[in-house]
Symmetry: D2
């Protein structure tokens, strides 16, 4: 008996990834698909212009789309809602008792909402105790911004082993990160855009500190290091690349850093969660990797790739990190969060 789940924002870019990734999920089964009022009532295949390779199953295609107001038969809702509506909708549903596992940014920094990467900060789920007291039982769990997943996963083992003091990060983000229709093709044809709206740099500077910080029983205490970000949109379909300049508390050789990264494991690996990559971080040795087209799909898009780990005379370390922004950086992240919640008995 699989757990029935609903998808909020099911027709959008992240929603389609949820549909794709949950298609043959061993634990979860798509029971409900919710989207805007405009789509409600239509079968999914008509409500949705499918933009991924392949197609949803017959059953999913025939499922009638509902609104996001509920009620839902499913107690578990994955949210790919746009941030323009996610705030209120998710809060209302949590208030009605649902487990809302969200990719939206709205509640990420709420004082009792876990901003979760299962390999990095599963102990932040403790905040649910506080949150559920507030809501009466339902809750919201969020995953980070698509770039931040890659950044925080790359920083976590370095922070644990050597202490991160300061990070400068320049991103080269893919087109799918902007959703659909997103960036106009003319804007990015033979071009780079040195800007991403919606507070992208602020999110990249704040979220990793929350994720690598701790929950003190009442609120989150951010990690002590500083992050400075400079973001770019590049003409690549999927996969965010990041150049990291890192100052450490304790010196580390490139080999030591690479080893800490490669050996990084967490609760999803111990528990063998269905979507967990065997190795959360793939450390690549070729001098010209990671590359989005060649490396974004490692372990089904759930592994972060790291390369060019090198010592630096100015900073201590430089490295490149790559994350599949719509899988590990969005829908796949939320699904792994759902799996951890289930494994810990928090979905029932």
């Amino acid at each position: 008996m699989k757990i029935p789940v609903g998808i909020l924002g099911a027709t959008g870019a992240v929603g389609q990834r949820f549909v794709q990734l949950l298609a043959d999920h061993p634990w979860f089964e798509i029971a409900e698909l919710a989207a805007s009022d405009r789509s409600a009532g239509k079968p999914y295949r008509e409500a949705c212009t499918w933009r991924l390779p392949g197609a949803p199953s017959e059953a999913v295609g025939a499922t009638p789309v509902t609104t996001c107001e509920g009620p839902f038969r499913s107690k578990v809702l994955f949210s790919g809602l746009d941030s323009s509506v996610a705030g209120d909708v998710e809060a209302a549903l949590a208030g009605q008792g649902y487990a809302v596992i969200s990719n939206a940014r709205n509640h990420r920094m709420d004082p009792d909402v876990p901003l979760l990467i299962p390999e990095v900060n599963p102990e932040h789920l403790e905040a649910l105790t506080v949150q559920r007291r507030r809501t009466g039982g339902g809750y919201i769990v969020t995953n980070p911004n698509c770039s931040v997943v890659g950044l925080a996963m790359a920083l976590a083992p370095l922070h644990r082993a050597f202490g991160v003091k300061e990070v400068a990060v320049a991103t080269l983000q893919s087109l799918s990160g902007a959703g659909y229709p997103g960036v106009a093709s003319l804007d990015v044809s033979d071009n780079v855009l040195p800007y991403i709206g919606g507070g992208e740099e602020e999110k990249i500077e704040k979220e990793p500190r929350r994720i690598l910080g701790r929950f003190d029983g009442k609120s989150f205490v951010p990690a002590g290091f500083a992050v400075s970000a400079s973001v770019h949109r590049v003409p690549v379909s999927d996969g965010h690349t990041m150049a990291l300049f890192v100052r450490l508390e304790r010196k580390a050789s490139a080999a030591e850093a690479a080893r800490a990264l490669a050996e990084f494991r967490g609760e999803p690996q111990e528990r063998r969660l269905p979507s967990a990559p065997c190795r959360p971080i793939h450390v690549l040795e070729a001098p010209d990797r990671p590359q989005p087209r060649l490396d974004r799909d490692r372990e089904g898009g759930m592994a972060v790739s790291v390369g060019r780990v090198r010592e630096d005379g100015t900073f201590d370390l430089k490295l490149e990190a790559l994350v599949h922004n719509t899988i590990r950086g969005a829908a796949g992240a939320a699904i792994l969060n759902g799996e951890l919640l289930q494994a810990r008995g928090l979905l029932s």
Copy 2:
């Protein structure tokens, strides 16, 4: 009466830019075209597969290509030679009395060779006195690496006004920076390459310090700040974009920094050299600029564009810089060097 000049490496990517930019030059006239032995003897139009829009003039197309050994009728030689051969060829020609104005990297760090950006360090030409004593009269003057021109020009006014202490720079470099055939299309289709060979990062870390340093009468004393670089190749035809994180000696507001950049002028502007941009640095206010496709051709590709000048809580300043890598970053840089030499009476 224009000054006859020769172009070394005339059939290559940089050589073609020399031919294009010198086509109607008010001071210089293409008299000789030199390339590899394979091309020698053929008319330029046959020796060269022209890869820029437009075409060379009839006269240039009919000019027979010579080898790079000389002798040349022209006393002034612009070199677009590949670094695999430039070292020896240029040294030999300087030894024979020619003024070699080179884009190649080989002699850039020689103790008596100016690494010149006319707006930034024209006083480095003093090193020619030492050099000419050594060679007997001929000399080599070099321009920086294509990224470094943009970086050093953006740093120069900041360094003068506020003192630069530390710089992290991530580059998004265009395809033409790799010459021809350069990067295989498959490697960069829907992709980013986080690596450029030939010591690109080392050049970006060293050359700015030399340029912003001083010549003490005997040798060059580099500027005291540190640069750390992380380079990327992106699918853009022309124009290198750079994200800069800058620590300063003295705090500067974004407005003060922008003003210092926008007001920056140098000897080329004072002397109104033919290829000098009116404003060496264009400070753009739109939040999403500079962009390669829209901004690389400002002032004929000779102006550097800067945008997103902003204060930073971690570093002091962040900004984006853009340089047309084959114009201001290569052939145009060398031509401006030639113009400064002529204006100072050093070509006769």
Copy 3:
């Protein structure tokens, strides 16, 4: 004294090209800029998100945008209006006595509206006599669809010399042909779209027959040949490429066909109109030309490039044609129409 002109739809993609191409026009001067009600009242620089390299002049930037209803001081109006509104607006303005020189498709097939390519069918202006009788003095003159300009110009000399019987044409059209925001970048990243909406294939099949037909004093009689089109959107910023398969009434060798194309001239060349290319068709001999990036800007984007003219065992001829879709295929086409009207005394 230049002729004051207005631009309808001045803030759109075609409107921006009008502003750019009319910037230093020897005969016309931008006096009025009209756009939607949303823009009206704002200075042009604020109403318009400029998306071409460079920027409009200070004077143009400061010009307040008006609505498209008029009245206008200018008697000559260039229209870059979207087809969703162009039909009524242009008809109304012609009814008020203005000369409307339009790039929109709405009135192209009207029985008394010239669909004009000055080199090909200037005699179609005779229809203005009929049209002005109807309107009372004002009139509409249109230019063809962006692909059709290139197609009809390539067919014209072949039709005159050898008689065109049948044409199959496959197009590879650029992104700017879809306006702005046009095609979503995700749709065309690492992709080709074998479809363009808005009746693109129908226009390509019908308009060339009208253009190469004749006006019999009352109505237009289309040329007798058939055209079949298959259209594609490709990831190229500007420049529509077309593969033509042509059956002729009288056999022609590739050399004869190439000569007919290369020697083609028309009234704009005889009258030396300011925007007229010296050679309307550039016949390229290199086996791999024309190419959008290298050839679209020939003669300021006003020349059509043709290459690979070859005999065919199945059809009679095959060739490739290229047109800069927003210059010769849109704004530049309309401006050349305006110049012909002025030269013939039809603007006063």
Copy 4:
């Protein structure tokens, strides 16, 4: 017990696809990897710069590369050799008794060599009787040019049902079709190349007639229709798109044509060969399909996608076809040929 096979040209682009597609093949097992003398002796992982996502298995990576001269333990050799060497090497190996299943063009038109698409012309294997008499037992079987596989598969059901009389085809071919390094990125950045060397158009015009013709016991009699091709390289990583204009012997409605295409099946489907697609041709109804990025991977890249099947006033039918050029158009095609040979008992 799997059949051991060797791969000729194993380090090249097609060779890497062979390695990838044969990785878990139920019938075949990679036993030998052969390449140029330069690679011979090295383990595959060192000899080969792997350019596909993922990586070869440990076992394959450790396999020492041999030269292509043999002798080989495997009796079955898949050849991804470059045409500059394939002619002699393959002939020699067939002479030594090997079954050479080749993707190279060299022997495709030999009078007793099958040019095979298992769904279309399995009866051409009869020519092996003649060929083996000549060689003494070994033989060569070839698959068509990458574009031709898609073209011939799309034409086959139409030809059977309605008789094909004449075809004009314009191709939009991907970068991987040129091998590695293939097309320089600068040549195809923001560009289209209307030319492909190596006799591409001639192959597209000749091979389909051979494939859809018959073997009369002694030699091949080509089908009676004519094909005219015009080829283009476009900036797409994988997947050749083709626009077809088709004249038929007997009229067919779009619906009849679509049905013939959708219902097309052949021997690989009857025999359920491991690499056979369930439906060789996917007929897509959305007006803007097929698209390379969304449709090239249907059925593991082994299905051809067809769309926009429409009646035409000039020709009888127009349609778009898409084939994954390195899978169904190259390595996958050869593997399916191998499977048919095995199923028919021709590999032992």
